[in-house]
Amino acid sequence: MELLLAITIGLLYASGVYMVLRRSMVKLIIGIILIGNGVNFLIFLLGRITKGSTPIISENSDTFLEAYADPVPQALILTAIVISFGLQAFAIVLIKRVYKVLNTDDIDRLSHTEDYDIL
């Protein structure tokens, strides 16, 4: 299963990078979301996955009696998921704003703020 998940993560990264490289801003956001999912999965997998057991101590004891899933990556991912929601919302609104002001969604047309010359 690790191998399959590793390939899926690779695919998530590849598709994310591909979408980020597109010139449409909507695709840029989709790319960011894909990479974000890839990162979450990556952390999850690198913490080693164990089937079934949860990082929750059973009701009658004070510590773990049997194997448990690693709680640290889970805590990391949990915050990452929520934060990425904020990021996505902000990015969408930002793009909407840019579209409204500049009337384009071609990222390559945003390469310069104005004509300037250093010398």
């Binding site: 949860t54 929750i56 949990l78 915050t79 929520v82 929601f85 904020g86 919302a89």
Partner: protein, 138 residues
């Protein structure tokens, strides 16, 4: 989305979902759940209500702008962090607990209030974002 079924369902679902979110919040320390999930579930409930009855109706129901939840939640979380400093003189964010568990809610401690702060912030953030955007789209 002007369907009678949805509207009827949503008005029942909203209180249910909010109760469920509080339940998730409270049990978070012992079982899966917590402030983040709880907050999100509550937000989903309100969004559902919004779809069914329109933004204005949901606004009226909520009474305050969801943005106000942000400072409330943040201060609550911060205060719960400072409680040990003020009461027992222990370092910032040390857990302080009441000795006896309260029925229904369970043990009460600073971590619970911290989680409540997280809950409020998450509700506030989700609803602020969604309300703002749907208002713009309307």
């Amino acid at each position: 989305m002007n369907s009678v079924i949805l509207r009827t369902a949503a008005s029942f679902l909203l209180p249910l979902l909010i109760m469920f979110s509080v339940f998730i919040l409270l049990r978070g320390h012992y079982l899966p759940g917590g402030g983040f999930v709880g907050g999100l579930v509550a937000a989903v409930g309100f969004v559902l209500h919004m779809f069914a009855n329109g933004l204005d109706e949901t606004r009226r129901l909520l009474m305050i702008h969801p943005g106000y939840l942000l400072p409330c939640g943040l201060s609550l979380a911060l205060l719960s962090g400072f409680t040990p400093v003020l009461i027992t003189g222990e370092p910032f964010m040390t857990g302080v607990w009441l000795d006896d568990p309260v029925p229904v809610i369970g043990s009460i401690g600073t971590a619970l209030f911290f989680d409540l702060g997280v809950y409020l912030v998450v509700v506030g953030v989700s609803l602020t974002i969604l309300f703002t955007i749907s208002e713009e789209v309307k």
